[in-house]
Symmetry: C2
Subunit: 502 residues, 2 copies
């Protein structure tokens, strides 16, 4: 296929992007269905369908004629508008990457991941790491191989990091995590020797039906348009989007825990606001949706922690919380609630971790992933390494693998290199808040009235709006200047010093 | 593409069928999502995705190389096993049909149907036939045109009937419906002059939460394996299947009606049992799933009416019904319940109609479809024709189009020619029951204990098992001999004579 005019090539480009978007949508809905509604023993047929569609989407992107199309458009780059130039750049990156993966490996990997999800689910349930180990082994091997295909010039783990946060390296992360540890570890020690906060009332009985009403209320406070965003229930909360008019979040209701779903909804709601805020013009192109995992997590954790765990937010929502759960919270006031949802203590489960210890959980995973990929840690030794690192970083003894190295879904989903994004996102947030407050002045009077409109408008204008048009590092610099983790460590220090009266 | 060996062609056939099955699955899940979980204003992106996938699935089937493949396999038919021969025959039918539809019309029609669903939803809500009329107009025009493409040798409406029940014609249906009317109309007159049954207790307040528990119980009595069959909630109940290990039914809970969802679950459960009972060997081929709408409805209505509205079934489930709704049914006994769920009276809504009047609702639609397709009725005159026919057949005055010609989703979904299947299916059932009782003897002792295993086993062996391997007419004859509607009219006469003590 050769192109005679730029218009001809542009229409081929639009067709390619539209087709890719349609397959993404279809496969996204298959995944959503699998996790929310599908009967338990229906994975076989879904596996076959995913195998067929994976092969087709592989062919769709990897075929040689796309190379010609991209080369033509690159050669005529002067005639393209900036959006199209960026589309070509993104497609080039994906084309080059996928083009280097042999089709049979790509499909075998998709099939492996479909199986691995099921195996992991059961392995976690049965606390049976050995059942999952052969799958993790293969996933690690594939990832190491893919890293070499993607960026033979990089260290393999750097190449994987680059998939989630373009430009990120172990060198940068090692420094970043060292800085965090230096601030967090002594702070946590002080917190632990201070009088402890009573949060036991958060773990009374909270019926799922009422928690569902609470979710609807939180979505309303977050200003999420429900005609474009639905909530479903899954084992592990997540957000998925099909376009900026169709976003889904999920949560999980535990009847002995009020805050697990509450902060899932606010966290996933933050992801949803990012997706819903993307400009329409990027829909059905490769620029649709958030630009990186790090920036995505910066938004979800902005809403979850900087807003959701703030005094002002608690002030806004506490009357409703009391109204929904009058008996469970009869002896609880606003300050007690605020302190309870911010209680810091080393624990086993990342997703339930408090703001202060959260990044320590990430560091454990980061260390293990680094070693798995560079081959200095064998899969069979992951449970022992996990336990040793939890002891070292968090001071806790991990009693089993279910609450240890089997707790997260990321590895079974192939997401090696993803975890550091959570820590980066956490650290991006306070620096964004600093810039926001420069522009808007005090935002907390609004927040304490449950009015997040100015906050969201600012984030939409500076971040959401751009979808994937601006690279993550560049976007961050454009909004905040150079990244400096000190905004984050200062924020934590101030918050926990006040909270525990240190 | 030409084939050198039969094995080569067979592997191309398997690949084609597997790919078609994957797209069916993906598009089926998109539809399921749209009707169960999607946010209300998300249709635009789904429309784009469906447009892309419709174009692709059109190309997949219509492409010339399939013609060569089928011709090769037909020429080597002696080397094929009987299953493969039937696969080739089915594909040939679909290939010839689709091949005659120009691609742009096929895609335009898919897009039209996506839009029409939304327009119809709103039109129904607002009782606004004029809003829907232009869409129905286009749907009728497309169907008339497609009928000519499919079977130029047939009358257009016969060609459409043939899509849902191979071999069915207006000539046959006119006779069939006349026979039904001859039996039903005088029976209904007698029923109406007999003392009326009190069914008012069915319309007390029945909370959705308890109705959900009731659904689970009914699924258990039906013997449906929930690890392969889930229930969701939609405006209009339906069944969809992705393969014989992944079937979904939907229902709708009305809190002022105990039986609407109850009989939806049993009806859709009947469809589900058919799909779940198909032999594994047909999965991922064009022979997967039930063979025709008429046979499908024979199964759903078998469970709904012959079983679900029988004295024996009521005896089995009534204790559970009382347990779930003790206050609402405090003054109700088993016989009252049995009589109430069988109360016959002319009414407006097909899906809520009793067994006796049900087919009269179908006849109204049949008459209107015939006239729409042969051009003797204009779309703008449908409401008036509807009202006149309801008055003539059922003696009722239709107060508005919401409860009149806008009530069903079939036309907005393109399903012209589908309705007669409901009547055929209803009439097939009693003849199947007759054969079943010849083989099994009395089944009602089992049913009255809530044990449907022998009934379902018989249907599985004689019907479900075969999926689409045997043509509908042939399958029916193989099981029951010649179709004779008298089994149905005799059944209705006996049941309603006893019930109303005529």
């Amino acid at each position: 296929m050769s192109y005679e005019t730029t218009d001809q090539a542009l229409s081929a480009l639009k067709k390619l992007e539209g087709t890719m978007a349609a397959y993404d949508h279809a496969m996204g809905v298959l995944y959503l269905d699998a996790t929310t509604a599908a009967p338990s023993e229906s994975w076989e047929g879904r596996g076959k369908t995913m195998e067929v569609l994976s092969q087709i989407t592989y062919d769709l992107l990897a075929r040689e004629e796309n190379g010609e199309l991209l080369a033509f458009l690159e050669a005529h780059s002067g005639e393209l508008d900036s959006q199209t130039r960026r589309e070509v750049e993104m497609l080039r990156k994906r084309y080059d990457e996928i083009h280097r993966v042999p089709a049979e490996e790509y499909v075998a990997y998709s099939v492996l991941l479909n199986d691995a999800q099921n195996v992991w689910n059961k392995a976690k349930l049965n606390d049976d790491f050995d059942a999952f180990a052969p799958y993790l082994e293969k996933i690690v091997t594939f990832n190491r191989k893919f890293a070499g295909y993607y960026h033979p010039e990089m260290k393999p783990y750097d190449a994987l990091l680059n998939e989630y946060e373009e430009g990120m390296t172990m060198e940068t992360l090692d420094v970043f995590f060292a800085q965090l540890r230096k601030a967090i570890v002594p702070l946590l020690e002080k917190v632990q020797s201070a009088p402890q906060i009573d949060d036991s009332f958060l773990f009374r009985h909270y019926g799922a039906e009422k928690q569902r009403v609470f979710s609807d209320y939180l979505m309303e406070v977050l200003g999420i348009d429900r005609t474009h965003c639905a909530i479903a229930e899954t084992e592990h909360p997540y957000t998925t989007e099909f376009n900026n008019k169709d976003v889904r979040i999920t949560t999980h209701y535990y009847e002995n825990n009020l805050v697990s779903s509450m902060f899932s909804v606010i966290h996933e709601g933050g992801h949803a606001l990012y997706e819903l805020g993307c400009d329409d013009k990027y829909n059905y192109t490769v620029l649709a949706g958030g630009v990186s995992m790090g920036v995505h997590e910066s938004q979800s954790r902005f809403y979850e922690n900087l807003i959701g765990r703030s005094r002002a937010f608690v002030h806004a929502i506490f009357p409703k919380v009391k109204e929904l759960f009058p008996e469970q919270l009869a002896d609880v006031d606003e300050t007690m609630f605020y302190r309870a949802i911010n209680k810091a203590q080393p624990s086993l489960i990342r997703t339930e971790a408090d703001e202060l210890t959260y990044c320590l959980h990430i560091m454990v995973r980061y260390e293990i992933e680094k070693r798995l990929i560079d081959g200095t840690l064998a899969v069979k030794d992951v449970p022992a390494a996990w336990k040793a690192l939890y002891k070292q970083y968090l001071g806790v003894d991990v009693p089993n693998d279910r609450e240890g190295c089997l707790q997260d879904s990321h590895w079974s989903g192939g997401g090696i290199g993803y975890f550091p994004s959570y820590a980066l996102g956490s650290a991006y947030g306070p620096q964004m808040l600093h810039e926001m407050e420069k522009d808007l002045g005090d935002i907390w009077a609004d927040v304490s009235k449950g009015d997040l409109s100015r906050v969201t408008r600012w984030l939409r204008e500076h971040i959401h709006h751009h979808a994937s048009f601006i690279k993550p590092g560049e976007l961050f610099r454009q909004v905040c200047g150079e990244f400096d983790p000190r905004y984050y460590t200062d924020y934590l220090t101030k918050k926990y010093t006040e909270l525990y009266d240190l």
